[in-house]
Amino acid sequence: MENQHIELTDSDYKSHLQTANGIILFYKKICPHCKAMKKVIEKVAAADPALTVMQIDSESNPAAMAELGVERVPTLLLAKEGQIIQQKSGLMNARQLTALVQSS
């Protein structure tokens, strides 16, 4: 089993979130902390093949950012059965992210 990686956009994020389970990362292309967060997510996802990873380019998709109340990047949302249950901004390490995922 491999992780699902989905790139969301303003036009399709709502339909994905209705039933979402997993991580949603808001990022920017030229943001070093976002790049680091993607690497951390890759590492955590490699150890948890059932984890679905979604991501949204915040610059190309401002509506999703505004609708979900995201002001900065990287911001990570945790979704469970279509509900956003956690929102964290800033860089986390793999241990912190694993703990966050497991606590949900």
Partner: protein, 304 residues
């Protein structure tokens, strides 16, 4: 039990100094690993436009570092990013570095752990205090921003923030003069919506759950003034990332590594490169020079 990996050279820190050292080491056929806590590129990653790197008139810092990383990986260097250090042993002929994912051994270690921004002196829980305008600036379009720090970073980042559509930008510097290049000072001073204040510091930060204002103090006169702001961006310099080296290697009183001209440190087989080294000028190009010297010194040490 963690997996063990054997190398000739372990490079701690994947900024431009570490990556340059890796290029030289790999070209000398030395089996090399870079262990980086975040992603390779270091402080250059947070520079919007690099204009003092020979070969490019102007290039985004992260884009430039990705090109260097591509070269490093092309040469067969192992690159471990987002690797959390656990402990290290740098004495003796065989050195070791343990991360949360593995144990790395090598005959030589190059320390190129770089620097990190100095945090604002005032303690606050408010989230609207930032250290990366590329990461956090977009949220402040049409809003009011305070930039703290009158060096090159403060002025360059202020110019970047203005390009995002900041409504009003105030830049403060606690000293009685700015330290940025004349070109950057002229450029920022020529912009509308900008206020520059020397001899000024933040006395208090105010807001209930969200930043609302700051009280600025003129340190020469003692006069104070309230300024309504939505966000604060702090660029007051950097400190060396050498906390993990405390008690392991000789550091000076500011935490920098006092290295010799061949970039040897207080331990045989351990070299230093880049912004962690005590020196007069901390630039991309001087870090590259360090990386070169540290790698060549390492090669000489290994082939002795």
């Amino acid at each position: 039990m963690k997996p063990t990996y054997e190398f000739d050279i372990i490079i701690l820190g994947g900024g431009i100094a570490g990556m340059t050292a890796a290029i030289y080491a790999a070209r000398a056929n030395l089996k090399t690993v870079i262990i980086e806590k975040e992603v390779c590129g270091g402080l250059v990653n947070s520079t919007f436009q690099v204009e003092n790197f020979p070969s490019w008139i102007s290039i985004n810092g992260m884009e430039l570092m990705e090109k260097v990383l591509e070269q490093v990986e092309h040469l067969g260097v192992t690159v471990e990013q987002v690797a959390e250090f656990v402990k290290m042993e740098l004495k003796g002929d065989l050195k070791s570095v343990e991360t949360e994912d593995g144990l790395y051994t090598g005959k030589v270690v190059i320390l190129s752990t770089g620097r990190q921004p100095i945090p604002l002196e005032i303690d606050t829980d408010l989230e609207q205090i930032h250290y990366c305008s590329i990461c956090d600036g977009t949220a402040y379009k049409d809003k009011r921003v305070l930039v703290v720090g009158g060096g090159n970073s403060g002025f360059d980042e202020a110019l970047y923030l203005l390009s995002l559509g900041i409504r009003d930008l105030t830049l403060i510097e606690v000293a009685d003069r700015y330290f940025a290049s004349a070109a950057a000072q002229e450029m920022l001073a020529s912009k509308d919506r900008v206020t520059l204040l020397k001899s000024t510091r933040i006395k208090t930060i105010n807001g209930e759950g969200r930043l609302e204002s700051v009280l600025l103090e003129n340190v020469a006169t003692g006069m104070t003034e309230k300024l309504d702001v939505d966000g604060i961006f702090v660029f007051t310099g950097q400190k060396p990332n050498t906390e993990i080296l405390q008690g392991i290697i000789e550091l000076d009183s500011d935490g920098y590594i006092p290295a010799t001209p061949d970039l040897s440190t207080s331990l045989p087989g351990v070299y230093a490169a880049g912004d962690v080294v005590r020196k007069a000028y901390l630039q991309i190009t001087t870090a590259m020079s360090d990386g070169t010297i540290a790698a060549l010194s390492s090669e000489k040490f290994l082939r002795r």
